[in-house]
């Protein structure tokens, strides 16, 4: 079963004359464990596509199915259920400022059903070790560097044990060396979990980590490689 199937997807914002098509007839498949990069100029609809796959928006036309769940016509509750199985990494780290690194990661692990508090906490600690932050567990985001924050965000996304990881320009706020490290870490950990990754990026220096490259322009896929 494919991680993501997008079939003839179109999406538009606005009503009537203000209606503006953002995505047009997009189709692609992401296999389990595959790392796919999505690039393209600003405003070409990358983020909209990501939010549709991430079950954050209602699908208007065409079909999106994520981890075997069809999202066409899925209601609020159903999309929330699907989101539990998807890890998300944002452009800003979006960590909870009032929580320590460990607690932030545990917010991800807390989504796992049927685990005791202790087991979930151990899970969180293990992920922080995996991203190399075992010495910074008790720090709040304010006291962490940009790269460390993004690594906490990766640990949080993976702690919920997702089968699909969506990342929106995870390197945007980082310098090139740190960005490279973070992306490589992300790919390695996703591989180990056989978790598929769809990453939106502008950054040309990280394209080589991908198994496959999708290029978008004006709401269409340029090459269906």
């Amino acid at each position: 079963m494919a991680a993501v199937v997008v079939d003839n997807l179109s999406h538009a914002f606005g009503q009537g004359e203000m209606r503006r098509a953002v995505l047009q007839n997009i189709s692609f498949i992401i296999e389990p464990g595959e790392v796919v990069l999505l690039t393209g100029p600003s405003g070409c609809g990358k983020t909209t596509l990501l939010t549709l796959i991430g079950a954050l928006r209602t699908v208007q036309q065409g079909e999106v199915s994520v981890l075997g769940e069809s999202l066409h016509g899925a209601g609020r509750r159903r999309r929330q259920q699907v989101r539990r199985r998807i890890g998300m990494i944002f452009q800003g780290h979006n960590l909870l400022r009032c929580l320590t690194a460990e607690q932030n990661v545990q917010m991800g692990a807390d989504l796992l059903p049927d685990l005791s508090y202790r087991a979930r906490r151990d899970e969180a600690r293990q992920w922080l070790r995996a991203v190399g932050l075992e010495d910074h567990m008790a720090k709040v985001p304010h006291d962490l560097s940009g790269g460390q924050k993004q690594r906490v965000a990766i640990a949080r996304a993976l702690a919920a044990n997702p089968r699909l990881l969506l990342a929106d320009e995870p390197t945007a706020a980082l310098d090139s060396r740190t960005g490279r490290e973070v992306v490589e870490l992300l790919r390695r950990l996703a591989r180990e979990q056989s978790c598929a990754v769809l990453m939106v990026t502008h950054d040309p220096r990280i394209v080589d980590v991908a198994d496959r490259l999708l290029q978008m322009e004006d709401g269409r896929l340029k090459n269906a490689v």
Partner: protein
């Protein structure tokens, strides 16, 4: 137990509050202030109503006769004394005490200014007070022109109690007649009376010669042990003409309190004051929670994007409101205790913390915080997880 640990989560609401200590302190100060305001207003209200009947409570009576035209302790009307004598025909009645009751002008012996004082006149041979230490003192009234002065009266009546305790002969004038203080009692002030004095029927009528001797304002009726006051009251009501009202002692107390509660704006004013405290508290808590939710909106949206349910996040806000209520109540309660003590000391009003008021304010604060958190939630419902990419 297992299930409990399984359900355990990171205490997000608690951390959201405590990791911003300044905002938390402001919120708690606001809630405590609202709570103190409510404690004060309700305390004054109850204290004033309570004070209006401190003397009433002391009377040795099971059943009380008053005139149906009487409206309150400051406007007692007279009724024929023989109605009180008629009650003796009832088999359950043990004895009666006729009481004269009226306001007199007391001259402050120091400043020579006149001020209205509540005077009670009764026969010193009749039982009048339940408390034996008070009853003992009434013997001194057997001499003409003697009075007992309430030492809890306001200081405007003069330093009577101090002078008396110093062993001086304290004399002053009431309506042109000389009276001498023969002892001190503790009754307490109320709305109507800034001070009280007790005297004998004889002296009372000398001081107020215009009062007809065959008429009294209050009749105290004592029942035999084991008699049911309610039954006696209903029997007496049937037997006696309509020119007299028959009340139980509690009914007499209620009669006085009801006057101040319903016929004056005092109850309304203080209840309104408490309501203002409630509204002020609501605004403060709402403001704090609303800013808190707004500040953390991207974080809440992130949690929603991660797959947390909206209801879970609403629960976080509700719990924040609950913690604020619990933490704000404690200082409000303690400050309330302190202020009651201060008010008792300064005004001699019987203001104290009682369980029902402590619970009332607790419930008000809880409702206040819950209401505010529900209002603040509307902001959270606007959080669109799609907007955070």
């Amino acid at each position: 137990m297992n299930r409990f640990w399984r359900g355990r989560r990171i205490p997000l609401s608690w951390l959201l509050l405590t990791r911003q200590p300044v905002r938390l302190l402001v919120a708690l100060a606001g809630i405590s202030f609202a709570g103190i305001l409510m404690f004060m207003q309700l305390g004054f209200r109850d204290g004033l109503f309570d004070a209006s009947v401190t003397a009433h409570r002391l009377f040795d009576a099971d059943v009380v006769l008053i005139s149906p035209r009487s409206a309150s302790s400051v406007s007692m009307e007279a009724f024929p004394r023989r109605r009180l004598v008629q009650t003796l025909a009832d088999p359950d009645v043990d004895g009666v005490t006729p009481v004269h009751w009226g306001l007199m002008l007391w001259r402050n012996p120091e400043t020579r200014r006149n001020r209205s004082i509540l005077a009670l006149g009764f026969n010193p041979d009749d039982p009048f007070f339940v408390d034996p230490s008070l009853a003992e003192k009434t013997d001194a009234l057997k001499q003409k022109g003697r009075i007992l002065f309430d030492q809890l009266s306001r200081p405007e009546f003069g330093p009577i109690a101090d002078w008396y305790r110093d062993g001086r002969v304290v004399e002053t004038e009431i309506a042109g007649n000389r009276v001498r203080v023969a002892g001190l009692v503790s009754l307490g002030t109320s709305f109507g009376a800034d001070g009280n004095l007790l005297t004998s029927t004889e002296t009372f009528l000398d001081l107020m010669p215009q009062k007809p001797p065959g008429a009294i304002e209050v009749g105290l009726v004592r029942l035999k042990p084991g008699a049911d006051p309610e039954q006696v009251v209903s029997r007496l009501r049937q037997r006696l003409p309509k020119d007299v009202s028959v009340l139980t002692k509690q009914g007499f107390i209620d009669f006085e309190q009801n006057y101040w509660k319903s016929s004056t704006s005092i109850g309304f004013i203080f209840t309104l004051g408490a309501a203002m405290g409630f509204v002020v508290g609501c605004v403060i808590v709402y403001q704090v929670l609303y800013t808190d939710v707004s500040d953390h909106l991207p974080e809440y949206a992130t949690l929603m994007a991660m797959g947390y349910r909206l209801s879970h996040l609403l629960g976080v806000v509700v719990r924040e409101g609950f913690y604020l209520a619990a933490m704000g109540y404690v200082p409000a309660y303690m400050a309330g205790q302190g202020l009651y003590w201060f008010v008792r000391d300064a005004t001699k009003l019987p203001v104290g913390m009682d369980l029902s008021r402590a619970l009332t304010v607790l419930v008000m604060i809880l409702v206040m915080c819950m209401l505010s958190s529900f209002l603040a939630m509307r902001r959270l419902i606007d959080a669109d997880p799609a907007e955070i990419f």
